[in-house]
């Protein structure tokens, strides 16, 4: 296909003009609805390695109930061959994945790591120390923003700043 023909096809398919700002809808996860951010959880184990004892007993034990309690998550159990590491790999809806190595961990420790992956949202770990309140996109405060020109005048008749 020639370059000009290709470009003309793309231009006809273009619904919105380029280089222009249009209002975009943004998702507000957790508002009125909730979709589990974890979509897939892969458990890599090996059949013979003593280092995967905890992982194997977890898979034989509480794992099935956990999988049944989370029907919206796809659980994949894979056997690794030849010196593979025991891994929990969680794939999230935002495209990121969290990987946790579970070598030499006991069954209860493996269960805790699975809980970490189930409770997380996939966002990159960042400091939340000064992140107490985040407002919705485009939200305004209900009480408005204080303005000295619109506030009551003081007793002297001057604006109180």
């Amino acid at each position: 296909m020639s370059d000009s023909l290709h470009r003309s096809i793309i231009d006809t398919m273009r619904v919105l003009p380029k280089n222009k700002l249009f209002a975009k809808t943004q998702t507000i996860p957790g508002y009125g609805h909730f979709l589990t951010p974890l979509r897939k959880l892969i458990l890599d184990y090996s059949d013979w390695s003593p280092v995967h004892d905890g992982l194997r007993s977890y898979l034989k034990g509480p794992f099935v109930k956990v999988a049944q309690a989370n029907p919206d998550v796809e659980f994949v159990v894979r056997m690794v061959h030849r010196n593979g590491n025991g891994l929990l790999r969680g794939h999230y809806v935002n495209g990121r994945d969290k990987v946790i190595c579970v070598n030499k961990l006991t069954q209860s420790e493996v269960a805790k790591k699975v809980d970490i992956l189930l409770n997380a949202s996939g966002l990159q770990i960042r400091s939340m120390k000064n992140l107490q309140l985040q407002h919705a996109p485009g939200a305004e405060s209900a009480r408005g923003i204080w303005s000295s020109l619109h506030a009551a005048k003081g007793s002297a008749g001057a604006f109180k700043i």
């Binding site: 508002y31 966002l123 120390k129 619109h150």
Partner: protein, 297 residues
């Protein structure tokens, strides 16, 4: 000359074009048109004060320069037409000068209404109308009387807000008070017991619910009362009941934050240690604030 008192029509027009809100109540009634500058004796315009826009200052400086030039040489003033008379004579601007500009109602105003100088805003006063909690409303205009019943107070709030906009809540979680709007994300230290993401929790201790001009506030919202309150004694804190306002939060996630390292040492003793900790956080999405009917109280 302050922004609130007399504004000359031409300047008012300029200000309205610049999207500065001028309430018609504050503008003086359109009087007779200004006399010709060349004919009258000119007084210098006063220096610009706080509240005067830059446009106003420019115009006043222009007019003062025009006026000063005419006083200096009165003979040439009659020959030279000052800028203002040209402005007024132009038919293009005749409509602007004759009609006072209307306030721009279509633009969303994020500022509260201008308070007229005669009436001062009534401070929030508590008037107990029910045994369970005191309801009080604060209004900007002194003409609005305080509502006598809880349903009327709620209807005042509803007139200014919807469950998702224009409304806020002061909610207490453990030992902290948070000012929450719908759709906010609240990040807290790990909330125990740990509930799975997607769980909705109800905020039971609401101290205040309000909109832009009105609020229903319990006396517990004051720091004086909160200071005496111990969190394990749930009955003693007087809160806004669920019949008036309901808020739910959804658990988004439980995460761990960035590793924090703290180095402790004491000199000359060989005491050194590094403390590493990863704080746990729970993130909650605030839902709509739903006003009830007041429980027929």
């Amino acid at each position: 000359m302050s922004l609130r008192t007399s504004l000359r029509p031409a300047l008012r027009a300029q200000l309205s074009r610049a999207f500065i809100h001028t309430s018609p109540a504050l503008d003086p009634a359109p009087g007779p048109p200004l006399p010709d500058i060349a004919a009258t004796s000119v007084t210098a315009s006063p220096p610009s004060t706080i509240g005067e826009s830059s446009v106003d200052a420019q115009a006043s400086s222009c007019s003062s320069s025009a006026s000063s030039s005419s006083t200096v040489s009165s003979a040439t003033a009659a020959a030279r037409k000052p800028r203002l008379t040209q402005f007024r004579a132009d038919p293009k601007y005749a409509k602007l000068l004759s009609t006072p500009p209307k306030p721009i109602a279509s633009l969303p105003s994020h500022l509260p209404p201008l308070i007229s100088e005669s009436s001062s805003p009534s401070p929030s006063s508590s008037s107990s109308s029910s045994s369970s909690s005191s309801s009080s409303s604060s209004s900007h205009t002194s003409s609005t009387a305080l509502p006598k019943s809880i349903p009327s107070a709620i209807s005042l709030l509803k007139s200014q807000s919807t469950p998702s906009t224009g409304i806020y809540v002061l909610a207490r979680l453990h030992t902290r008070t948070y000012l929450l709007h719908p759709r906010d994300i609240l990040t807290l230290p790990t909330l125990k017991p740990v509930k799975r993401p997607g769980t909705t929790l109800s905020l039971t201790r609401i101290l205040e619910v309000g909109s832009r001009d009105y609020a229903i506030r319990s006396p517990s919202a004051d720091a004086k009362v909160l200071r005496k309150y111990m969190d394990y004694d749930a009955r003693s804190l007087e809160t806004v009941p669920m019949s008036i306002a309901k808020v739910q939060v959804t658990v988004l996630e439980h995460t761990r934050g960035v590793m924090m390292t703290r180095f402790k040492y004491k000199r000359r003793g060989g005491f050194r240690k590094t403390i590493r900790r990863k704080p746990g956080w729970t993130r909650l999405r605030v839902g709509d604030i739903i006003l009830g009917d007041g429980g027929q109280a």
